[in-house]
């Protein structure tokens, strides 16, 4: 198992290196484009251009440029945005990370609990009315776009009903944990629910299907023939095996969301997370920030993948030796 973990994370490091090279090449070595001009932004004066050239070593060979870039990113942390005159990129990202993490972790807890509960209920109650009812609820969650749902939630809680039912809802934005767990959670509650609803629906459907399949497996029949209680057969045997693919999907979704896919939720609820940062950077073509967030996103996606594989191997003994 230890060997497997080491190998897996070794592979992850290799992938990250490859991604950083790729991103570097796309940003700095696209033929026919002057990277200095792109970094400096639109209408930059010659002095700025010169400064960019020097600090990124654009007159030196590519491998050296790559190393200088990585040094700016990871060692000196002084990659600067030129569009947004003089702001440092890394601290911006570092500040945005806890916001995104808070949003995604909270939503993930909610959607996993909700999705697993709904999927198990529906899967175990096949043939009764509960199953289609729960699944209908799931479809409902899946079919509401996050930005639309978020806007509606905001409209209701911030305007229409803010003076009556929803007077407890704080204004949009993020409250760091330093202001107390209560404030933090209160500010995030609606974004959590909004983001979680979609995924809960997807996971419930998926789990129900897996569970329905597992309940027809021979090993479930064996478990019943052993004289185990139906509850134990369901939870310890059928559900336990059905969770394996769910966990791997979860890792991918979680990684992508932390990597910036929670963008819509962040924008709608005014949360200054990584997604929102990327969104702004894209709007004013702020290349250093885009590059920083792309690498950050890649880091989380790859890390999440590696973690998933390790968890997967813990859950499923069959893959451990592979």
């Amino acid at each position: 198992m230890i060997g497997y973990i080491l190998r897996r994370f070794g592979a992850a490091a290799l992938v990250l290196f490859a991604i950083s090279v790729l991103v570097f090449l796309i940003f700095f070595a696209t033929p026919g484009v002057d990277p200095a001009a792109r970094i400096a932004g639109k209408n930059a004066d010659p002095a700025t251009l010169e400064q960019v050239r020097a600090s990124f070593g654009f007159d030196r060979p590519l491998p050296v440029q790559y190393l200088m870039m990585m040094k700016h990113l990871f060692v000196t942390h002084d990659l600067t945005s030129f569009v947004n005159r003089g702001t440092l990129v890394i601290p911006q990202i570092v500040e945005a990370i806890p916001v995104t993490l808070s949003l995604v972790v909270g939503a993930a807890v909610i959607w996993m609990v909700l999705g697993v509960a709904m999927g198990t209920l529906a899967g175990a109650m096949r043939g009764t009315l509960i199953d289609p009812l729960v699944m209908l609820l799931g479809v409902f969650g899946v079919s509401l776009p996050v930005y639309w749902l978020g806007e509606v939630v905001n409209l209701l809680t911030q305007k229409q009903l803010h003076d009556s039912v929803f007077s407890w809802v704080p204004p949009l934005g993020y409250a760091p944990l330093s202001q107390g767990v209560g404030q933090w959670a209160l500010h995030l509650l609606l974004p959590w629910l909004t983001l979680a609803l979609l995924y809960a629906g997807i996971y419930a459907r998926l789990l129900r299907g897996e569970l329905a399949g597992a309940l027809n497996e021979d090993y479930v029949r064996t478990a019943r023939a052993k004289g185990l209680s139906e509850r134990r057969v369901l939870l310890r045997h059928a559900l336990r095996c059905s969770l394996i693919p769910i966990v791997s999907l979860f890792g991918l979704d979680f990684g992508a969301l932390v990597g910036g896919a929670a963008l819509l939720t962040e924008v709608v609820f005014g949360l200054p997370g990584v997604g929102k940062l990327t969104y702004q950077a894209l709007q004013n073509l702020d290349l250093p920030v885009i590059m920083g967030t792309v690498l950050y996103a890649a880091f989380f996606v790859v890390l999440a993948n590696a973690v998933v594989d390790v968890v997967y191997a813990r859950l499923d003994p069959r893959v451990r030796r592979a």
Binding site: Y219, A223, A225
Partner: protein, 321 residues
């Protein structure tokens, strides 16, 4: 016959409109081995699943009597049935590759069954799992007890499944084609094992199979099923030496002889299996069909005590083997 261990009377199983088992009756004494043979779809598995109360398909309807140790099992509450399953009656299934939960070790799964029925510590249950694995011939059991099912070969898995089935010393072991999925050598080993275990544990065994060879090796009593009914029943000697039903003749003809001249080709029983709506279920495929076959023949004694068959053919048209 002393008080039978298991007595099934007039068992009927319907799935919606489809009748899978139609009035099956048989009895089994303690320590006896009953071989149940019949083509695919003849209702062997569903009958035995019904004994354990494991038919769960919505719309399935089971009626009749299933009396085990003097107690009616049909209609028992699930909680009561659970204390029978795995403890008094154990069942093993055809495909050992999929019969064990892939994510738990073999020892864990055996211990789980022991602890479902007896108040013993995890430690003690595990020790017993090791002993059981040893008994069914798994090499270095104290190491193998922690192996996962995928680390076992097919034959070893079936041994592990048998060990699990025997873990609570059941009075009756139902084996649903335990050797079909295995290669010939392994088949012989598993049969050997079952014979030995029967001698050691004294469990009665119901052995479901399509293989007359297996029946001839292990069974005391034979039940031949066709289209959801018993068409012949009797002691092994009776069924093999004086088979009475045309379907049994066909089955016996399809067994390759080990000794003596070899048949060139195995004679196939003509026609497709399936029960006629009314009348004898085998009539459509029977070479000896005549007018009375439009009516279903009941299972009747043949004159030889303990030997019954369901066929209208008069005595002079029966053949002996």
């Amino acid at each position: 016959m002393p008080e039978p261990l298991l007595e099934v009377r007039d068992l009927r199983i319907r799935f919606g409109r489809f009748t899978a088992v139609d009035g099956l009756s048989f009895a089994l004494g303690p320590g006896e081995v009953l071989g149940v043979v019949g083509e695919s779809g003849s209702g062997k598995s569903v009958s035995m699943l019904a004994v354990l109360g494991l038919i769960r398909t919505p719309g399935a309807h089971v009626s009749g009597n299933i009396v085990f140790r003097g107690r009616e099992l049909l209609g028992l509450k699930d909680a009561e049935m659970r204390s029978v399953r795995g403890r008094e009656i154990a069942m093993i299934f055809q495909d050992p590759m999929t019969a064990l939960t892939p994510v738990y070790t073999v020892g864990w799964q055996i211990a789980e069954q022991i602890r479902a029925h007896e108040k013993v510590s995890a430690r003690a249950a595990r020790d017993r799992a090791v002993r059981l694995l040893d008994e069914v011939g798994i090499p270095s059991p104290e190491r193998r007890v922690d192996a996962y099912p995928h680390e076992f070969s097919g034959g070893m898995r079936q041994r592990a499944v048998i060990a699990m089935a025997l873990s609570c010393n059941p009075a009756l072991l139902i084996a649903d084609e335990p050797t079909t999925a295995l290669d010939v050598t392994t088949q012989a080993q598993i049969l050997d094992l079952m014979r030995r275990l029967r001698a050691d544990h004294g469990s009665a065994i119901v052995m479901i199979t399509h293989d007359m060879g297996v029946v001839s090796e292990i069974a005391d009593e034979v039940l031949v099923m066709y289209g959801g009914r018993a068409v012949e029943r009797g002691a092994r000697r009776q069924v093999f030496h004086t088979p009475r039903h045309p379907y049994t003749w066909g089955l016996l003809d399809s067994v390759p002889r080990v000794r003596g001249p070899r048949a060139r080709r195995l004679p196939a029983i003509p026609g497709a299996p399936g029960a006629a709506e009314r009348g004898c279920p085998f009539a459509d495929r029977c070479a000896h069909r005549f007018a009375p076959c439009d009516e279903a023949p009941p299972l009747t004694p043949t004159g030889d005590p303990g030997h019954l068959d369901a066929c209208w053919l008069p005595e002079d048209r029966r053949r002996t083997r």
